[in-house]
Assembly symmetry: C2
Homo-oligomer: 323 residues x 2
Amino acid sequence: MSTFSIGVDLGGTNLRIAAFTQEWERLKAASMPTRVQAGPSAVLDDMCSAIRELAAEFAQKRTFAGVGVGCPGPLELPSGRVLTPPNLPGFEGLELKTELERRLHCPVVVECDANAAALAECHAGAGKALGFQSLCMLTLGTGVGSGIILNGHVWHGFSGMGGEAGHVPVYHDGLLCGCGSRGCLEQYASATAIARAGKKLVLAGSQNGSATVTARSLAEAALAGDPEAQKIYDEVGKALGIGLASLVSTLNLPLYVVGGGVAAAWDLFSPAMFAALEADSYIYRLSKPASAAVPEHGKTNVVPAKLGPDSGLLGAAMLPFFE
Amino acid sequence: MSTFSIGVDLGGTNLRIAAFTQEWERLKAASMPTRVQAGPSAVLDDMCSAIRELAAEFAQKRTFAGVGVGCPGPLELPSGRVLTPPNLPGFEGLELKTELERRLHCPVVVECDANAAALAECHAGAGKALGFQSLCMLTLGTGVGSGIILNGHVWHGFSGMGGEAGHVPVYHDGLLCGCGSRGCLEQYASATAIARAGKKLVLAGSQNGSATVTARSLAEAALAGDPEAQKIYDEVGKALGIGLASLVSTLNLPLYVVGGGVAAAWDLFSPAMFAALEADSYIYRLSKPASAAVPEHGKTNVVPAKLGPDSGLLGAAMLPFFE
């Protein structure tokens, strides 16, 4: 009998739940707004209803492996306790794993959402396509998430906070981050940071005024030849290159994957990223592939993610198999 | 029958060889200058003679586990090929492991010297004393070496260059490093960097002029109350704190060990180090022990090394058991 699992992507805006086969084929999905205002208990109710429905539908013909949940960090792992998630106000201290297991009576694995996305890229995305079982993935979205996969498994660190590369300091005494530190990668390479830089441009009058400057609208402007918009993406690439230099020097992994919404602008930021990485890491210089665009085994490769925005949901469904 | 191994510490100045029991008791040691000028073959001859002599002396009563060699990086591992070591000119491309095995007819494990020191701190130093099997060690000497131990074993990365934290960029566009990059930790926290900063003081006339300003003489001046010398150690601590912030955010290890000759000045640089680490890493802020000086399980601990300058030699002898 084939096996299935259920993945949950608990975001600050949307709650998405889907059943997958162990070959990572999606069987069925459900999506709803995350009722953050209604509090953790209401959100858990929504989540559990959808999980029960999916489990009931597929459990007759398949073995149910369990539930995996990707949740915004920081989390305490493996206990699955939510710490202080900026996008889930009111969820501080929630015993997410314990609460779900109590309600669902099945094994639940909770993981940081960026780690879940990295797991999916390893087993079904860039890692699988290129033949690597170890990688570090940066997810450029509202913030900069990151996850480290070693030999096919999430590297948690001793308390579940491994791979928080979005908070590696890239510019000492730089911009103040939501985490309270200064100069974190997240303040230069997230969609939020890009939109903020774009709004400054509008205020300075060099962009056609629009109240809704986003990372995407700036990417479109840069692609259309706007040099100021391109400069913003050059800065994104430079910060990413400095952050990657730290990671490459410390971890010496064969693969670094850049994903999240901002990664769609790969062609705009990757030249500056590779230039900064090459300038700042002698290990990269010693181990870079002949062409940055053509990954090689035995070299340090940096590539865009292969999976789209659903990688976190798929990675969550992989958790029961890889923890 | 008890077991013994032979460790080799191949330095740019001294070549040290010693036999140890598996309980890490030193049986006998030999030391000689490293004849770098005479070339790799002469150095290998010296090394092999000393190894054969020690092996012959102890092999009658004990089982011989093999030879471990700590060598300045960068190395290609596990092949044991020397790449471009700044302190061993002429050794570029040397197949150290293959050459030694050909001459000695016994298993040889080659490892980066800083990784060997980290292994010793794990199994016989700070890690053992505090009950941790995973740590990252920074060795502050002529350069800044570093090694990562995960669950008791060296983390090599995919090509033997894992844990090169001495080359994490701490100040973007900072001082030029011997590796060719700018702003590497090594340029701020090595004995060389400290001596260089001290020489500037002498030139500026604020230190009693001496041609031989060293990290140690500056530490003595700082201990005697010289505020300018203390400022230099404050800068060492600050750079270490920024570098540690990167490591803590990425690795989330329970223990970071600071060793090497400069670590003797722990009281001079550690206050600035903890201040910068706390400012630059929210993971450290979330997970620091109640008092930085009192390590706690379940927290992020940063401590001085417990073993002295022989940790690299002992760690080399551990290699046959832990690879």
